[in-house]
């Protein structure tokens, strides 16, 4: 029964992944730790495999809809491990509480930028700091 509920939760995680372009680990990991009694490390590691496979299918579907910039995706994907190395160093030098507060502030800032975009009038000019006007990036 637990495996059936875990499957259902992972299906929901997949929908979230497709809707907003995340890996889905935010759902996969608790599905495994809470329902399948996996340890945190094993659940997170297993979710990485799931995220890789789900992302392959999600990106393939989005490519079919014309929604993937392959060049930028490769740049981001290959630069991220460098960011991970930097993050490991910072995580070992900065207190955990400060890291969490810093990440929360970054999350709130990004949320504010997205909400400002959502509620800005369609005809209004971009606010200062909004970056370049909405020229569609080159698609590969």
């Amino acid at each position: 029964m637990d495996i059936a509920i875990a499957c259902l939760l992972c299906a929901i995680g997949g929908i979230v992944a497709g809707l907003i372009g995340v890996g889905g680990g935010i759902v996969f990991v608790p599905a495994m730790t809470v329902l399948l009694s996996k340890g945190q490390v094993e659940a997170e590691s297993t979710s990485l495999l799931m995220i890789a496979l789900v992302s392959v299918v999600g990106a393939w579907r989005q490519k079919g809809y014309g929604n993937v910039n392959v060049r930028d995706a490769l740049v981001i994907g290959l630069l991220s491990p460098v960011g991970v190395l930097f993050g490991v160093v910072v995580a070992n030098e900065v207190p955990e509480r400060a890291l969490k507060i810093g990440f929360a502030l970054l999350a709130f800032y990004m949320a504010w930028r997205l909400l400002r975009r959502v509620f800005r009038d369609e005809g209004a000019p971009p606010a200062p700091g909004d970056g370049p006007p909405a020229g569609e990036p080159v698609r590969s």
């Binding site: 497709g18 890789a52 496979l53 789900v54 930028d72 995706a73 490769l74 981001i76 930028r113």
Partner: protein, 92 residues
Amino acid sequence: MIVPMLIALFAYGERLATGTSLAAIIVIALLAAAMQGGIYGNVDVGTGLILTGPAILGVVFGTAIQQRIPEKSVSFMFALLLIGVGVYMLVP
């Protein structure tokens, strides 16, 4: 953080940002899964494959839904997720 970064800082449309994010995640997750599984042996491949089946059905459904809703609703959903994560981080 890839999706909000592409939308807020690089003027991507929501659908292009989420598709590009998924493609980037392939590289990141494959590297990380290979390390965790190949080096540390922490990946439960059997359970992962069982749960990946419904997750793949979900992502196909999710990407299809996304093409049929206003782009800005994706930004709105992502903003709610970011606020939730931010609040979670602040809870001691």
